[in-house]
């Protein structure tokens, strides 16, 4: 196989379509040469997150004092990571849904990976709010269920909005992801035997691909895409309101919603690169996820980076322009206080580094893409850290300023969450068609030269 695009498109349509089926199915049938690396990675992830699980158990037993959190910094690395992973979850849907609606066809081959990433990222993010609870075993009190006490939840609390939004987001993106998979499952079903066939028969839900089915399929898919496009924006806005509705200087800001959405998409795209640059080698799907696709992602990254820089700018400007001494003090602290290094690192990673993508050579160099995507991930995490922690560390009352540093336990948990994310991502992507076959074929048909139809 080559890295040159259009290797498949070059073939006559029917052969091309067969080729698609064959290549994609190859990723499922251990015929890939890299299967050892694959299972190695999965195993390693499993190990790491089991360690983290033990740490969590210990935390529940002994209390949160094993974290670095203190009065006044009551939220630390856990919430930071929650916001981070929710952010990651956004590009997936953005790519699938919004680009689909915009008929940006290059999305096709990335869509499957992106959506899978979304679902897994939400699964990861969802752990943290429970993980950071003082009495985690009572987490179900966050759910409005009828109980003997006659007590319900407080719908005024941003945390409840959060729970609702994230829950919704998970369900809907799962449906979206699964819907797109149905025809592909059918294709797998028809090409497998034994227990695998049995499984995929169930998954395909009896799909046969009649014209009417395709019609309903397309209508549902389009509608879901539309719904999700709205949802994507609402979810991270709501996450941002967790902070924006608070009185904390550095949180209390009206631009938080768009600012967080942009940040989310930005980090999501970066993570997509981080996963797909190695992934397309691992799964041998370079003909479908071509360098052009990656370049497009890079272009988007530049755009998002610029938007983000603008948000930073306006946030600082209004901190100064508002004239609230506490708000100003907060920014003086961010730029010069104990967390200043992270603050500047954030700017470097998110506002400066991505500008490298302005050069075509960088955009088309997989190594550079991968490296920069990592840089951006780091930048986005530290951005969230500065927002969450620095603000709390330096509030109104000078009596209770404090400095928070994550402990080794917290770092372990964070590593565990990353492992958990990769674990599920690899497991899923390795057992479903990693590239949407039906849609790729659709593209082939669309672009196929139209021969004369006999009257």
């Amino acid at each position: 196989m080559s890295d040159e695009p259009g290797a498949v498109q070059a073939l006559p349509v029917p052969d091309a379509m067969r080729r698609v089926t064959r290549d994609v199915l190859a990723t499922l049938e251990w015929r890939i040469p890299s299967w050892l690396a694959y299972w190695g990675a999965v195993g390693l992830c499993l190990f790491v997150w089991s360690i983290a699980a033990l740490v969590w158990a210990y935390q529940i037993y002994t209390g949160l004092h094993i974290t670095g959190m203190l009065h006044p910094v009551m939220w630390g690395a856990y919430i930071t990571s929650f916001v981070f992973w929710i952010g990651i979850a956004h590009s997936g849907t953005l790519i699938s849904a919004i680009l689909f609606l915009l008929r940006a066809h290059w999305r096709t081959s990335l869509a499957r990976a992106a959506e899978t990433m979304t679902i897994v990222a939400v699964m990861t993010a969802g752990i943290f709010p429970i993980l950071h609870l003082g009495r985690a075993w009572l987490f179900y009190w966050l759910v409005p269920y009828p109980n003997e006490r006659g007590l319900w939840v407080n719908f005024s609390s941003p945390l409840i909005w959060d729970a609702t939004a994230v829950g919704t987001y998970f369900v809907v993106s799962f449906l979206f992801w699964f819907l797109a998979l149905i025809p592909d499952f059918a294709a797998v079903r028809d090409r497998s035997s034994g227990w695998k066939r049995w499984i995929f028969e169930r998954l395909a839900l009896g799909w046969t691909g009649t014209a009417a089915e395709w019609r309903h399929f397309r209508t549902a898919y389009t509608l879901l895409a539309a719904l999700i496009a709205v949802l994507v924006v609402s979810v991270h806005s709501i996450v941002s309101w967790d902070f924006a509705v608070a009185v904390v200087p550095g949180w209390h800001s009206t631009i938080f919603a768009p600012y967080f959405v942009v940040g989310a998409i930005f980090s999501g795209l970066a993570m997509l690169l981080t996963l797909m640059v190695p992934g397309r080698f691992l799964l041998e799907i370079r003909d479908y996820v071509t360098i052009d696709h990656l370049e497009n992602v890079a272009k988007l990254l530049v755009a998002m980076s610029l938007l983000l820089t603008y948000s930073y700018g306006s946030e600082m400007f209004f901190a100064w322009y508002r004239g609230d001494p506490f708000e100003r003090a907060q920014w003086v602290f961010r730029a010069g206080g104990g967390y200043a290094p992270l603050f500047w690192l954030t700017l470097l990673c998110n506002s400066v580094a991505p500008l490298a993508f302005l050069s075509r050579r960088v955009r088309r160099n997989t190594t550079a893409l991968f490296a920069l995507s990592i840089v951006i991930n780091v930048g986005m995490w530290s951005e969230r850290f500065v927002i969450v922690v620095a603000s709390l560390a330096h509030e109104y009352n000078a009596y209770s300023w404090g400095t928070y540093r994550p402990t080794v336990f917290e770092w372990t948990v964070l590593a565990g969450s990353a492992a958990w994310f990769l674990f599920w991502f690899l497991l899923l992507i390795g057992h479903i068609p990693a590239v949407p076959m039906a849609e790729t074929k659709e593209r082939l048909l669309e672009t196929a030269p139209l021969e004369g139809v006999p009257a």
Binding site: M17, L175, L179, T210, A212, H216, L223, L445
Partner: protein, 162 residues
């Protein structure tokens, strides 16, 4: 039931059936293709209206539920806000609207897809999910051979009676 290698043959075949006055033919395709759908006359879907209904129902019930729960304990006032503050409730309602709408869409799809498959039992061929197209034409056995030939004329690789 005729199997075609190329989409254009299928389109031709559909046109042929039209010419031969045999209606109700069902086209099979491995991928979504607007032309086939148009030719096969699969144009409208009930999914849209289901989704709309689902969305409205979701929003309404969310509002009703939240208000009801709050009224359960009227002394639980927070932050000097009125007992039933609308901004948070709208947020909740919005999220649930999306949720139910999406669910409705998927359910609607599953139901109508199943309905669409009715009467095509046994016609399906595995190759149809790979690269081939199919056309199932209902007709009285007498005309089977004739139509079969017509299909071959249009470029069907094989045809059989189901």
């Amino acid at each position: 039931m005729a199997i075609f290698e190329r989409r254009d043959d299928l389109l031709a075949a559909i046109a042929e059936t039209g010419a031969r006055r045999v209606g109700g033919a069902t086209a099979f395709a491995p991928a979504f293709d607007e032309r086939i759908l148009r030719a096969a006359g699969a144009t409208d879907s009930p999914v849209a209206s289901w989704t709309l209904a689902g969305g409205i129902a979701g929003a309404a019930s969310a509002l009703a539920f939240t208000v009801w729960t709050i009224r359960q304990w009227p002394t639980l006032v927070v932050s000097g806000k009125p007992l039933i503050p609308w901004p948070p409730l709208l947020i909740i309602a919005f999220e649930l609207m999306i949720l139910t709408a999406a669910a409705a869409a998927v359910i609607a799809f599953l139901v109508s897809a199943r309905r669409a498959r009715r009467g095509t039992r046994g016609a399906y061929d595995p190759s149809l999910s790979d690269a081939r197209f199919g056309l199932l034409i209902p007709c009285e056995p007498a005309r089977a051979a004739e139509i079969g030939d017509a299909m071959t004329m249009c470029g069907a690789v094989t045809w059989r009676i189901v």
